[in-house]
């Protein structure tokens, strides 16, 4: 059981919820507490209420809010996680668009991309499938709340843990060893545009009805209900009619959003934006 006073916890949890749309109730409370304790120590603060005061009123509050966002979104991921989604894009999304993709690039949004493993995995799949040689292009917008992660993504230099499911062949083909780490080869970094964005209150203009696919995997589980519905509504406006939303295996929209029609194809659950959705 946590020793943090209930009221102090509520102040911080409400702050995180309002600023980032993230919820750390139940078992996740321990995660947030653990991530913030060392920060309190750094700042010589003793209670979560003092930290709330610091975040809300101290002259350095903006910088501290950025630091807070880094700490609470420090989620590990890895290359080729849930690979069936990449196969889904290659086999279900792209074929019906063949004629359209002669005139414009495939447009994908990787929302909550962390340090870039997801969008780069998609590029590897697209390159390996030979689409580039057939003249197809792609534009992948990739965003995350955590600015440090975005910087890491731009550098494309990875610890071995990020390659945990890559065999030796993939490591040699896609990466250049750099000491203990792995640098993704340039050819697999093409067409990806990284930027920092708070999806709960997006300030970067992503345009309307511009994406063929939005990937937002294993992130919505951290969103509280209001932010969840607001974000999915936002996604429905960002997707082209008939575009696809791909979520993590433990996330579901079934019976929650009429703007999306659930599809189960070859073992993959995807959500297609209905034509009427606005």
């Amino acid at each position: 059981m946590s020793e943090v006073a209930e009221a102090d916890w509520k102040l911080i949890a409400d702050f995180v919820r309002e600023r980032f749309g993230l919820s750390f109730e139940g078992a996740r409370r321990d995660i947030l507490e653990a991530r913030l304790r060392s920060r309190l120590c750094d700042l010589h603060l003793h209670t979560f209420r003092e930290y709330y005061h610091y975040l809300s009123f101290h002259p350095a509050r903006d910088a501290e809010t950025s630091e807070l966002s880094r700490r609470i979104t420090n989620n590990e991921t890895y290359f080729f996680r849930e690979p069936h989604h990449f196969a889904f894009i290659l086999n279900q999304v792209i074929p019906p668009l063949h004629s359209v993709l002669r005139t414009r690039p495939l447009r994908v949004l990787s929302a909550g991309c962390s340090s870039g493993e997801e969008p780069y995995s998609l590029v590897v799949n697209l390159v390996d499938s030979g689409l580039e040689l057939q003249g197809y292009r792609w534009e992948i917008d990739a965003c995350d709340l955590n600015a440090t992660r975005i910087e890491q993504a731009r550098k494309a230099l990875y610890e071995p843990g990020s390659l945990r499911v890559c065999d030796d062949e993939v490591r040699q083909r896609c990466f250049i060893r750099s000491g203990e780490r792995f640098q993704l080869k340039d050819r697999y970094r093409k067409g990806v545009n990284f930027f920092q964005s708070n999806l709960a209150t997006p300030t970067v203009g992503l345009g309307w009805a511009g994406y063929d696919v939005i990937m937002c995997r294993n992130m919505l589980i951290y969103f509280h209900d209001d932010a969840f519905l607001s974000l999915i509504g936002h996604f429905s406006r960002l997707l082209l009619p008939g575009g696809y939303l791909l979520l993590g295996h433990s996330e579901s929209l079934v019976d929650r959003m009429p703007a999306f029609e659930p599809l189960f194809l070859n073992g993959t659950m995807a959500y297609r934006r209905t034509q009427e959705a606005t």
Binding site: A7, K10, D30, I31, H44, E50, H53, F57, P59, I221
Partner: protein, 676 residues
């Protein structure tokens, strides 16, 4: 905004807007059966807050409208102690459904004072009522009900099930023999084993052991192992027999326990899936079944299983339960420790180092592991040496401090910090010299800090001028331990350090080391108008010196908001004459955070004469201030507080309600509402 969402918001706003009493009540009753669960949830909170139990109770008996009935039940439950008297009266209702729901509410509320009435209901003619009363007796943990509940174990199946669960909740060992008798043939076998696990009665251990050997399915073995492990206690003569019998059954129970300890038996409770990576989900630390199997293996001296047990001690989660278990069955690893430390599996060696009760007799083995091929093992060996205060190992540890990196270097430093100060004096000086690598020096200073060694004070004072801010911070932490004016002067001078992190650190240190010129210097620093002043205010608060109160109050008028907050917190900590009045005046300010901090300070300083103040604060629109009122009322041991707390216990904000309920639960039983 979509139309549906807009309508929802309008309905929620209608509940929250001030209106006359009758109109609001009508709105709430209407919203209790709203089609939207979100509206119903808010209406339930308002109903708990505004509607008397007597007005809600009739809805409990409305069989035609389940939505309304469930909402009323939820509202009455949320009212908690406020509703007990009325709901207790519902136990006499002629309608058995009303009585059943009343039992459920009283159980949820944990209305301990109602147990006599609930006990009488065990003779009710309606089985549903009896079942609900049994469940409620379990929830209120009514020990006096145990004999009757045991009798019910021989009655019809649904009542057996409820009684079994209730006996587990109550936890009286009196029930253990009867519950054992229900295994393995009865309808309630698994619930009975779960109840036995909760009770953990030693007298159940022998029959459970017998049952374990009769069980031939995982479905039955697992709950028996859980119940048996909970029933085993240090010093029981049975322990040796547990080990002997299991060891002799290599193809049966032994193999099963080995599989559990290797994580191959399902049924483990998953750990937080969000915090576990895909490939290790549910395996970190070990769940209840692994812990139960480990209890059997350790308490029964099942040496052949020890490698698989200690292997769980390789991560923090495993160490957190395994180390206390090993200590509980003191000496349980003694016979196998040597072989575990020499085991070919690196995880076994590490686990043995982390959780084994190591003594100086194991020193040569641990020293040998300082040269193990695995860095994990070398680091674990260092960690093991510290608590032993094995001075013989100091040369090796110093070598590792100098030559190794990462966790190994940290572990060597941690071990050296445990060593007697005198033992370090002979050989530690070279590590503090200015030409030594900064990483080594930093760890060396921490060793000096933790060991309390005073032999290196000159080197440390020198290091307080180091170029690295991290080194200066570390050095000042040691300086703060030194006696005398020289140390104080060094700390006070450090307040002018160019690095703010050093200034802040030193302020913290000074606040823990009152005396001499510290107070005067800090008071002088209040006149500076820079970022350090925020920290100075906080340091003065922690010093708690009454002389600081007046300057802080004077500064308040010109301070920035973040400083004002700290000034109020500091004044509350200093608690000098006039503080209460100063804080009271702050309640009149418009900035809500100022009012919150003032209320917090007043709650800390509350006396019986402040009851009218907290009575007013209990109605404040801000939840945090109402919470402070509830906290203060919890401290004021006066009977007049009870009606106020009963209102706060029904607050719309759950945090406030919980604070008030905690205050009420601290009252003597006689102060609670009388049962019907």
């Amino acid at each position: 905004m979509p139309r549906a969402a807009s309508a929802l918001t309008a309905r929620l706003n209608a509940l929250a807007s001030p209106a006359d009493h009758a109109l609001r009540e009508a709105e709430i009753f209407s919203a209790l059966e709203d089609e939207s669960p979100a509206v119903r949830d808010v209406a339930i909170a308002w109903a708990a807050r505004c509607i008397e139990p007597a007005r809600l109770a009739p809805l409990v008996g409305s069989p035609d409208n389940a939505v309304l009935r469930n909402a009323a039940l939820a509202a009455l439950t949320r009212q908690g102690p406020y509703a007990i008297q009325h709901v207790g009266g519902m136990l006499e209702d002629p309608d058995p459904d009303v009585v059943m729901f009343a039992c459920q509410i009283l159980g949820e509320i944990k209305a301990v004072e109602c147990w006599p009435a609930l006990l009488r209901l065990l003779k009710h003619e309606q089985v549903n009522v009896v079942q609900a009363a049994i469940e409620a007796l379990g929830r209120v943990r009514a020990r006096d009900a145990v004999p009757r509940l045991i009798e019910i174990l021989g009655e019809e199946p649904w009542l057996q099930l409820a009684a079994t669960d209730a006996l587990g909740e109550i936890g009286d060992p009196l029930a253990a023999p009867v519950l054992v008798g229900l295994v393995p043939e009865s309808f309630v076998t698994i619930p009975a084993l779960e109840a036995l696990r909760k009770i953990g009665a030693p007298e159940a251990a022998e029959p459970l052991l017998t049952l374990l050997f009769r069980s031939d399915t995982v479905e039955l073995r697992s709950p028996i192992v859980l119940a048996l492990a909970a029933s085993l206690h240090p010093g029981m003569p049975l322990l040796e027999r547990v080990g002997r019998r299991i060891d002799a059954d290599r193809d049966g129970i032994w193999r099963y326990l080995a599989a559990v300890l290797q994580g191959e038996v399902s049924g483990e409770e998953p750990l937080d899936p969000l915090n576990a990576t895909d490939d290790r989900r549910g395996t970190r630390g070990g769940g209840p079944l692994v812990r139960a199997a480990a209890t059997l293996a350790l308490s029964g001296g099942l040496e052949s299983l020890h490698p698989w047990v200690v292997r769980w001690g390789v991560d923090r989660e495993g160490v957190a339960w395994l180390r206390p278990l090993v200590r509980r069955f003191h000496g349980c690893l003694r016979a196998t420790l040597g072989s575990l430390l020499a085991h070919p599996d690196v995880r076994v060696r590490q686990g043995a180092l982390e959780v084994g009760e190591l003594t100086l007799d194991d020193l040569s083995r641990i020293n040998g592991l300082l040269r193990d091929e695995s860095e994990q093992i070398r680091a674990a060996a260092c960690r093991a040496l510290g608590p032993l205060k094995a001075v013989e190992a100091i040369p090796d540890l110093l070598q590792m401090l100098q030559d190794s990196t990462g966790q190994e270097r940290d572990a060597a430093a941690a071990a050296l910090a445990h060593m007697p100060a005198q033992a370090l004096e002979l050989s530690f000086a070279p590590f503090l010299q200015s030409d030594v690598d900064e990483g080594v020096r930093l760890r060396a200073v921490r060793v000096v800090e933790h060991s309390g060694c005073r032999a290196f004070d000159p080197e440390i004072l020198e290091m307080a001028h180091a170029e690295s801010a991290a080194l200066r911070r570390a050095a000042f932490r040691v300086v703060a331990q030194m006696d005398g004016s020289r140390a104080e002067v060094a700390l006070l001078r450090a307040l002018a350090d160019p690095e703010e992190s050093v200034q802040t650190e030193v302020l913290d240190l000074l606040a823990k080391r009152p005396g001499g010129r510290t107070l005067a210097t800090l008071l002088a620093l209040l006149n500076t108008n820079d970022s350090l002043r925020y920290h100075v205010i906080r340091a003065l608060g922690r010093l708690g010196a009454a002389q600081a109160a007046a300057p802080l109050q004077t500064l308040y008028g010109s301070a920035l908001l973040h400083e004002k907050i700290e000034i109020l917190a500091a004044l509350a900590n200093i608690a000098s004459t006039g503080t209460v009045e100063f804080l009271r005046q702050r309640l009149e300010e418009s900035q809500v955070e100022i009012r919150r901090v003032a209320a917090q300070g007043l709650a800390d300083l509350a006396g019986p004469s402040d009851l009218p103040l907290f009575s007013a604060l209990a109605e404040d629109p801000d939840w945090a201030i109402r919470n402070e009122a509830a906290r203060a009322l919890g401290r004021l041991r006066v009977p007049e507080r009870r009606p106020l707390l009963l209102v706060l216990a029904r607050d719309l904000e759950p945090v406030v309600a919980r604070t008030a309920l905690a205050a009420l639960s601290g009252e003597p039983e006689g102060a609670a509402s009388a049962p019907a």
